[in-house]
């Protein structure tokens, strides 16, 4: 049970990111979340989309270098300290978080979601579920 993140290599030059977002828009792909990681001379765009297959087809066709990384998707409890609670559980479970980012989803963007890149994704998911926190998969994200 995972969310499929598409990581795309981008040259660090003007228009590189737009080249990718243009392509996805033209291919009628809905981006749920986008997070950028940048080094001095290149960057990685991490995107969560509604249709992973269509997106990877389009990227491949256009000659992008990308890969698909399974990541942990969590629905943040709709209560004060909800995010803190999630981080606490992951911390207690000893999950090694490489990076994370948030986005809003649902018919009127009423739910907050977090994406975590953790080393042992399954153990982290189990720890969260044990505390009653909702872990979501790609299907859930696609239907948002």
């Amino acid at each position: 049970m995972s969310v499929k993140q598409i990581s795309v290599f981008l040259e660090n030059k003007p228009g590189a990111l737009m080249g990718m977002t243009d392509l996805l828009a033209a291919s009628k792909i809905d981006m749920r979340a986008l997070s950028l990681a940048e080094a001095s001379d290149f960057g990685i765009a991490r995107v969560i989309v509604d249709d992973v297959y269509a997106a990877s087809d389009a990227l491949k066709e256009a000659g992008f270098i990308y890969n698909i990384t399974p990541v942990l998707g969590v629905c943040i409890p709709d209560e004060p300290g909800g995010l803190h609670q999630v981080l606490q559980v992951l911390n207690d479970a000893g999950a090694n978080v490489e990076y994370m980012y948030a986005f809003l989803g649902g018919p009127s963007a009423e739910h907050a979601y977090m994406i975590f890149r953790v080393q042992d994704r399954k153990a982290a998911a189990a720890a969260l579920r044990a505390k009653g926190i909702k872990v979501v998969d790609q299907e859930h994200i696609s239907q948002l």
Partner: protein, 433 residues
Amino acid sequence: MERYYQPEIECAPREEMIALQNERLVKQVKHVWDNVAYYRKKMEEKGVTPDDIKSIDDLHKLPFLTKSDLRDAYPYGLMGKPLKECVRIQSTSGTTGKRVVAFYTQHDIDLWEDCCARAIMAAGGTDEDVCQVSYGYGLFTGGPGLNGGSHKVGCLTIPTSSGNTERQIMFIQDLQATILCCTPSYAAYIGETMKEMGLTPDQIPLKAGIFGAEAWSEEMRQDIQNTLGIKAYDIYGLTELSGPGVSFECSAQTGMHINEDHFIAEIIDPDTGEVLPEGAQGELVFTAITKEAFPMMRYRTRDICRLSREKCPCGRTHVKMMKPKGRSDDMLIIRGVNVFPSQIETVLLNYGYPANYQIIVDRVNHTDTLDVHVEMTPEMFTDNLGEIAKRQKELVDGMRSMLGISPKVTLVAPKTIARSEGKAVRVIDKRKI
């Protein structure tokens, strides 16, 4: 046990070889003076006559020949024999005007084939062997040269020429070929194909390979040796000088013995033309002392390498040339250091990347900068920035230890490196000097 095709020459004491070279050089200079007007004019311009050349110590007095001389004198201007005494031409690939056309008398072909026979025997070949020549036949010297050498050794020769890899493998398997002659990149390709077919090295009858006509690294040698289960030997030559067999590797695999009874080698400073002391690195220059139809005098190969007179365990006494580091016209001088694109290519291949790169040299605040653009590959890419940065740093470190200067490595999107006429543009020098 080491085998020799002409042991009395290949293992001759140094003094004997010098005496032979002296005698042949004096005779050759006279031959050229009398028959090659183009070179005679060059000698006259330098104020040199055959009387000035009494031994190989006088070699440096002679003028150089370069590729541009070959162009100027094309096609007949450098011939030392009338056409009616010639029996063959060979030619390099290369666009019109840059093509080299070399002429051979029967005697020239005979000596050339001797040189190739020496190479085959140095690789362990005997008349018991089946030698598959997968170099191109035709104008290219590779096929005809090794074919002739193989006949002289007495190997059963399979003249497959290049291409049709399935048929190549079929002959290797069905006729139990033991020696393969081709370019190193084709050998690697044959090896990969055999591996895909599920053949393990012990199922492949080959025991040795003689690979030349292009630059290849020590790492590539290891790869080919492992996939085919053979010993891979380097061979060197130029169409201008006859073809493959100017020098060849022995069982020691530490440099190529130059056939000194036919070719005198010098190492010069490519900028000043001055002869460099023994062991120094510089441009390789050859004087052919036995060639009749196309006698090259002090021909500048543009190959940069080093010679070694260290005693070789194989018993041959001829000087060895190390693998050329690259062509002098490809050489870049960056912060005073000689850099060859081939060195950068080697580092990329070492780390498992394809050789898709471009070198950008610039001068910022009076300091040269070296930026190597490397095309990103799916293998190198991960979603983790730190991991990619680590691989990038590995490349920087690898290039620094290879070149002696620190480059910047920039990762670029695939297929973004400029290509002209299908060939990638490897070097962009933006310095205004």
